[in-house]
Structures are given as structure tokens and as C-alpha cells.
């Protein structure tokens, strides 16, 4: 799956989200969620350690495990939405909105797991996008795994200083406070450093980057992308009719 062209992966995720909201609930959203779940389960196929910098698949063993981790991440991320929906709405609305939101979350988590930011940059630059714009897209995709890795390092550092993130609610809240501040401050500091580094390495406004290894864009994949667009338009027309 990671060998698919980045635009195909983006189109799949976008189409799933669009269809989840266009098709009638709950069955339409349940269908898109089922597709998203299957994609998430298969997200480990072809994924090698480090193939997707910072992705949830890095360092995992091959097989089902990466897919299960992606699926679990999606479920854990979507769970609070279900809670709030249940508090605010009746059961049918909760199910309808919950399935749609979970489809969105699962699609994005799957996308982050399978789409290597470097490949996206190469594909966008090859398609004529400016390097700065491509980098902005790719950096957004890689932000969550990068922050996760940084948070893990801070937790380990705090553990070395005797602060345990385990135990009752009190210790966990204290640990969260000790994590949040350094995480935010270091992220802000790194933004400055990274801006300087990127400038010094030629990533300036208007830069026309040379694609080093643009991913192959096969005719079949282009056809699939157009088919997805057509499917979304058809669903929209059907719903408006």
C-alpha cells in the first residue's frame, strides 16, 4: 500500500471522508468506516521499518501488528467524540455522527501511517507545486509522529528525575503538567531553529526544487483517482436530487 502514489493515497482518504458525510447515515457512514478499517488493517503491508519517517509503522514487525496499531490509534482518538456526542444527542444522531467522525479519524490515521512525507514532497514537486508549499503539506502530516516521539523522550527524561507517569490520578496529572510545558516550549523553539535550517538549505519562497526520485504515477492509479472523484460527485448529485 505504501507503494501507491501519494496522490492516490490522499484521494482515497479524502473520498472516504466525503462519502461518509454524503451517503445516508447510518449505513453509508458504516460502509465507509468499514472500508477505512480494512485499509487501516492492511496498512502494514509492504511497510518496512523507517519506510515512512515518523509513521506509526516505524520499528514494527511485519504482518498484522502494524495494521492493528493503526486501527487502535484510530479507535482511541475517536472515542472521546463518541462520549461527547452521546452526552449532547440522542442515540440515532450519536451513531450517525459518530460513524462519520470515526471514518474521518480512521482515514487520517491510516493516511499518516502509509504516506511518507518525503514521497509526498517528491510527488507534489514533480506535479509542479512549489517546494515550500509541498514541504508545508508534508510537515503537517509528519507533525503528530514527531511530537509523539518528542513526548516520549520528555517522559523518559522526567522518569530519570523521579517523576512517574503511572499510578493514581494525582501523579498522572502532575506528570502531564511536567510533560506539557517542555513539549510546547521545545516545539516552539524547534520551529525557529528549523526555519533557519530550511532557509540555509535553499527552501526559500519561490524555490523550484528538482525532484530526486518522483514516485511513478501509473495510468491505472490516475484512473482510480478520477473514479473516486466521479463517485463523490455522483453521491452529491444523488443526495441533492
Amino acid at each position: 500500500m505504501t507503494r501507491l502514489h501519494p496522490f492516490t493515497l490522499l484521494a482515497l482518504a479524502a473520498a472516504l471522508v466525503a462519502l461518509a458525510w454524503l451517503l445516508p447515515a447510518p449505513w453509508g457512514a458504516a460502509g465507509t468506516l468499514a472500508v477505512a478499517a480494512v485499509l487501516a488493517l492492511f496498512s502494514g503491508a509492504g511497510l518496512t521499518p523507517g519506510a515512512s519517517p515518523g509513521s506509526t509503522g516505524t520499528g514494527m514487525s511485519p504482518g498484522w501488528r502494524p495494521g492493528l496499531v493503526v486501527l487502535r490509534t484510530a479507535v482511541v482518538t475517536a472515542a472521546p467524540f463518541w462520549l461527547f456526542l452521546f452526552i449532547l444527542h440522542d442515540v440515532p444522531t450519536t451513531v450517525a455522527l459518530g460513524l462519520r467522525i470515526t471514518t474521518m479519524v480512521a482515514s487520517v490515521v491510516w493516511l499518516v501511517a502509509v504516506l511518507a512525507p518525503a514521497r509526498l514532497v517528491e510527488a507534489m514537486v514533480a506535479a509542479g507545486w512549489r517546494a515550500g508549499t509541498a514541504y508545508l503539506f508534508a510537515a503537517t502530516l509528519s507533525a503528530v509522529p514527531v511530537l509523539k516521539a518528542r513526548a516520549q523522550r520528555i517522559v523518559e527524561a522526567q522518569r530519570c528525575r523521579g517523576l512517574s507517569p503511572r499510578g493514581g490520578l494525582g501523579p498522572r496529572v502532575r506528570a502531564l503538567r511536567a510533560l506539557a510545558l517542555p513539549l510546547i516550549l521545545s516545539a516552539l523553539h524547534e520551529v525557529d531553529e528549523r526555519a533557519l535550517a530550511l532557509e540555509s538549505r535553499g527552501l526559500v519562497p519561490g524555490a523550484r526544487r528538482t525532484p530526486l526520485a518522483p514516485p511513478p504515477d501509473r495510468g491505472a492509479e490516475r484512473a482510480v483517482r478520477w473514479a473516486l472523484v466521479a463517485l463523490c460527485v455522483a453521491a452529491l448529485v444523488w443526495r441533492l436530487a
Binding site: E193, R194, L196, S200, R201, G202, A207, T210
Partner: protein
Amino acid sequence: MTRLSLEHVSFWYPATDTPALADVSLEVAGGEVVALVGAVGAGASTLLLVAADLAPRVVGGRLEGAVDFRGRGNGEGGRGIVLPTPWTQVSGMAFTVWDEVAFGPANLGWPREQITRHVDRALARLEIAALRDREPATLSGGELQRVIIAGILAMDPALVLFDEPTAELDPAGARMLWRLVRSLAAEGKAVIVATNDLDALPDVADRVVWLEQGRAKKIGPPALLAEDALCAAGLGTAVAVVWRAGGLPRPYPLTVDDAVRLWRHR
């Protein structure tokens, strides 16, 4: 040929009243290595950012005075800066070390063959050709530092600015780096380096700039590092500082060889 000229340059970071650089004037020619020495906060890193045209353009703040660079902006024939923290300079967009080094040249829009030639040469110069297929995230700090330096050199800048380039390197790596600095100067590039590796400077630097509280307190040959004032400020070479601490008479020796010579002639 003068590559960089600073005339009465002062610089203030955003929301500060005290200048980080105060009335600094300096000229650096092609083929010259200029070393910036000073205590923490003396202004060496700021001077490099100003010379690289990153302050105030990217950093913000206010600049007074004139900065004149004779080159072609950033990249090829332009300015390249190696910042002190390699892990924040990784593009995050590379699968391999080769891709990481090629990140800058690719951003310059060079043809693929030119990128390949420059990247391969930079990898060889930094003695990291064996790492070319490794993922950058798996590298040690020293290896990553070499990769970042290779990434800047692959862009073929005419002015190279190093901020504490040996901080992540082991002694062998530091020696390699200093040899590289001299070879860059031999090619006609202008090099400015901010470093605390004072013992390396007699063999590397053509001139030394002593910065204190943002001012260029003294500019001169590397022999400056054996002067009493610099030794008193903790900025002398180890040999000079030990000689002075031992109460031995001036002039203080700059290197071990100088010390041996002086000792034999006592």
C-alpha cells in the same frame, strides 16, 4: 577579494533593548578562515546569523550598519551556515543520508547530474560515503553533524559559516573537520567559524576575533590566543593558560611546540 564586509553593525533581537552585536566591523576575504571566540552570549552566533542573512530577515529584530556580501544569495556561490544543533537541521523529508545531503542542492533546482556530483563529493569529503543508504534518524549525533555539514557543502557556497562545528564530533572527527576547513579556504571559499575548540585555531585560523558582550574587542592573528588578556578571560589555548597559571614569564606559548622551544631557551 573581500567576500563579506560588516561595517559598524549592531543587532537587536526582537523585544530586547541590549544589542547582541554592537558596532562590529569586519572584512573576510575569499580563502581566509576567521575564528570567532568569546564567552557564551558574546555574540558569535548572532554574528554568524547576520553574516548568513538570517538575522533580521528570518529571526526578526533590528539591524544597524552595513552588511555587504559579494556572492549570489544562498546556495551555490552564496552563503551556507551550519547551525550548532544537527537534529534540528534535518529536513525530515529524506529516506537516506544521500537524500538528506541532496535536500539543499535539489532546492536550488540544479540538474540531477550536478546534484549527484556535488552530493557524492560532499559525502566523500566528510568521510561518510559508507552511510549513504542509512536512514538519518538512525545516526549518532556525530554522524548527523557530518551529514548536515555535507548538506551545506553540497550546495557549494562561497561563504561558509560554522557555529560550534565540533560540538558533536569525537576527536578524530574534529581533526577531520579542521582539515576540511583549511581545504575549503584553499579552494578560495571564505570561512567564518565560531568555536570553543581554541587549541585547534593556531593551525586553522588566519585571524581571530575576540567578541565580548557583542563587541569585537580585538582582532588579530591566532597568536592573540596566547595574550594575557585572552588567557585571563579563559580564551587562551590550553598551553598558554597552563604556562600563565604556572607563573612562567611572557610571552606565553601558543602551542606545545612553542612551549618546548621556549622551555629549551630558558
